[in-house]
Structures are given as structure tokens and as C-alpha cells.
Symmetry: C2
Subunit: 221 residues, 2 copies
DNA sequence: ACCTGAACACCGTTCAAGT
DNA sequence: ACCTGAACACCGTTCAAGT
């Protein structure tokens, strides 16, 4: 009986070409999205991966799902970076390096800015985002306790701020690919305790992030 | 002879329904873009304006051109606001109010963030943007001379920063429509002279903006 | 001179037919 | 179980026919 179920397990296992195709598609899509932005066609991604258009939809229910999957990978990478930085001796430098890593990730990816809005209501993305927010909160708390940053900044703030340097520099990103570092510098300065006037609006909460998905986009009746 | 040319002038004048349709389309498009973002269909815009789909393309060569035209109007409004603020007695408050007006404009418009990238290489938009940059530079210079801001910030910096508060708050904008003010506060703090470490990357130049259009998007050969 | 809606090309998505 | 490419719906854009 148990032998049977293990045989069934083997039968149910994904085929070798399936898993291979899946990662080929993810790899191709990540590269195309980074180079061309969100508007790349599925046909192009499929061609780069060397599979038929239909195969993409065999692995991902929609283009949004595919984008969300890639998003999750990026978030996971950043989460690992943040986790490692928790061991850094300087809380201030740990936070700064975390933000720098996040900003750099987005500066090198043409799709990232726009994709934030697209992907926010995917459960997978939110889970990855929550995990990232945990790490960000820990890094922020350490820096706060060390007096390295203004006291009113939270981990969720940091998450939202990661995209800012690349977003600000976007209009001239082609001609000045390093300009995002200027605004990263500015934002890191803004986080310091020196210039702080009390922030006039409450920090975003975890609920703000989870509830955002329930609200549909505005549209006609 | 001159009588003739004036008659020709009359014959060449746009028809009354044409100019009316043009503004109907612009009005409808501006509203739909603000509510729904860049992905609204031309069909919807045409329906809201009460004209046929083809009429839209009769007035604007492409969807991008239509978006660019609306962009220019927004820029012009902001330029007027900035010009008025040059008469403000406090250079610091004048600059702050200018930035606030720009940030508010973008916070209320779902298309603005993404449209920045779309519209940057339209000649009309660049002209409007240059005009806006002039005013921003004057406001910035006044604030700089008054010691109200760090010395390394330029007018072009201010232009790029206008979109930051709305951009940062985008992921939770539906649930927290006022959150952009929190990051506006943060950025205004960052502009103060107190926290300034010298910026590590040179400011964007006028050439950076004009040259950006010549670079094509990355694509396959 | 401008409006109109049918026609076209392109892209995301589906699905019946293969293996 | 998965791959494939033909088929479908939708949207930006064009254009011949109207007024």
C-alpha cells in the first residue's frame, strides 16, 4: 500500500522538461523585463526561453502572475541580504547597505518601478513583502536604538523608500545611469536624526499593505 | 489681395465643432487618466468625450501624443504656480509650497508616475519641462541664497523630486490617500542644510534631459 | 475640413490536438 | 502531464466614405 503511494508520488512528479522550461521562462522573463520594462510581449519572452507562447501560460496563469513570481525572487534575494546585514557591527551602516542594495536592485531593472503597482495584490508577493518588512523592521529598530536614524521612521517606511532613488532618476536614467545614487544619498541624509521635524502623517501599517489588495481600481460602473 | 488672404484665413480656420471636440477629448482623457491610470483605452476616453474613436486620432497622432498634451497642461499650471511663488516673502516657504503643489498634482493622478517615462521624449513636453525647470531654478536659487536649503541642490533636482512623494506612497495609495504627505515632509527635511553630507554624484544637467530622448529603449536586434 | 465606424495588426489568453 | 500552435478577444491605429 505505501509502496503504491510512493509510486504514485513518482508518477505525479513534474516532468524533467517541465521544471527546466519553468526556470527557462523565469530567467528569460527576468532578463527581458529588466531590459525592456513591463511592456515586453509574452511572445518575446517565450522566444528568448525557446518555448512556445502557450507554455508560458502553462506555468503562469497570466502575465501578472509571471511578473509576480519574478518579483518574489527579487524580494527573497533582498531578504537574504538584509538577514546577513543583521550581523553587521554598525546598525547604521547595516541599514544604509540594506537600502543601497534595494535601491540598486531597482535601478538596474526597468520594470521594477511600474511592477510595484501591478504586483501588490498577489498573495505570493505580499508574503514575500511581509517577510522583507520583518527584516527591514529589525534593521530599522537596531539603527533607531543606536540613535543613528530619526525615531519616527519604521521598517515599512524603509520598504517604500527602497524604490525612491531609482524612481526619481527614471526620466534621465538612460543618460545618467548612476544618478540614482545622488538621490540615495539625499534620502539617507533625510533618515538621519539631525534634520528631523516630526512627520505630519502616521506611518504605513501592515494592515495598509494587506488591505490595499481589496480595493479595486477606479473604473466605470 | 490682402482681402483675399483674410478670406483664406477664414476658410482655414478650424471648424467650431473641431476645437470643441478637441477640448472634450482632452478633458475626458485627463479625467480617465487620473482615475484609471495609463492603461485606459482610447475607446473609453472617446465614449466619455462623446466622439468616435477615430476622432481622437484626428486630433492626436497617437495615444502618447494625447498623454503628452495633457502632461503639458499640468506642467503649465505648475509653472504658473511657481511664477506666482517667486513673489513670496519667504524663499524657503516659496520653494516648499512649490514642491508641495507639484507633489499634490502627482498624488491625485494615477497616470502621472508612469507617464513621466512615456512622455519624456516629446518635444512639447520637453519645452514645457524646460520652462518649469527655469522657474524651479529661480525658486531654488532664492532659497539657497537665503541659506534655507543645502547648497548642492539644483532646480533640476527639484523637478525630479516632485514625483517622489506620490511615487513612494503608490503601493498603498488606495488605502492611505494622504500618505504621500509623510514622504513630502521627509524630503523637505532632506533639503534642509542641517543633515547635508556632500552629494556623491553630480546634479543632472539640462543636457541630460534633452539628450535622454535620443537614446532608444533597449530592444532586440 | 473634420467626423465616423469598419478594417487591420498586434498582443494576452484559451484550447483542442498532439506526444 | 506537458508542449504546441492555431484561434479568439481586445486595443491602438488607419482609412475610405460620408457631411
Amino acid at each position: 500500500m505505501t509502496e503504491w503511494s510512493s509510486l504514485v508520488r513518482i508518477w505525479n512528479m513534474p516532468r524533467a522538461d517541465s521544471t527546466r522550461n519553468r526556470s527557462l521562462v523565469i530567467e528569460a522573463a527576468a532578463a527581458e523585463l529588466a531590459e525592456c520594462g513591463l511592456e515586453v510581449s509574452i511572445a518575446r519572452i517565450a522566444a528568448r526561453a525557446g518555448v512556445a507562447k502557450g507554455t508560458v501560460f502553462n506555468h503562469f496563469a497570466s502575465k501578472e502572475d509571471l511578473i509576480a513570481a519574478i518579483f518574489c525572487e527579487h524580494f527573497a534575494t533582498l531578504t537574504a541580504t538584509g538577514k546577513a546585514l543583521l550581523a553587521h557591527s554598525s546598525p547604521r551602516e547595516a541599514l544604509h547597505e540594506f537600502i543601497t542594495a534595494g535601491a540598486e536592485l531597482q535601478a538596474g531593472d526597468r520594470s521594477f518601478c511600474a511592477a510595484t503597482a501591478t504586483a501588490r495584490d498577489h498573495p505570493m508577493v505580499r508574503q514575500a513583502s511581509d517577510h522583507l518588512a520583518d527584516i527591514a523592521e529589525q534593521l530599522t529598530a537596531r539603527a533607531r536604538e543606536a540613535g543613528a536614524i530619526r525615531p519616527d521612521i519604521t521598517g515599512r517606511d524603509i520598504i517604500l523608500l527602497l524604490g525612491a532613488p531609482a524612481g526619481i532618476a527614471t526620466p534621465v536614467a538612460d543618460i545618467r545611469p548612476d544618478l540614482w545614487r545622488r538621490y540615495l544619498n539625499l534620502i539617507l541624509d533625510a533618515l538621519g536624526p539631525e534634520a528631523a521635524r516630526p512627520l505630519n502623517v502616521a506611518a504605513p501599517t501592515s494592515q495598509d499593505f494587506t488591505a490595499a489588495s481589496k480595493t479595486g481600481k477606479a473604473g466605470a460602473t
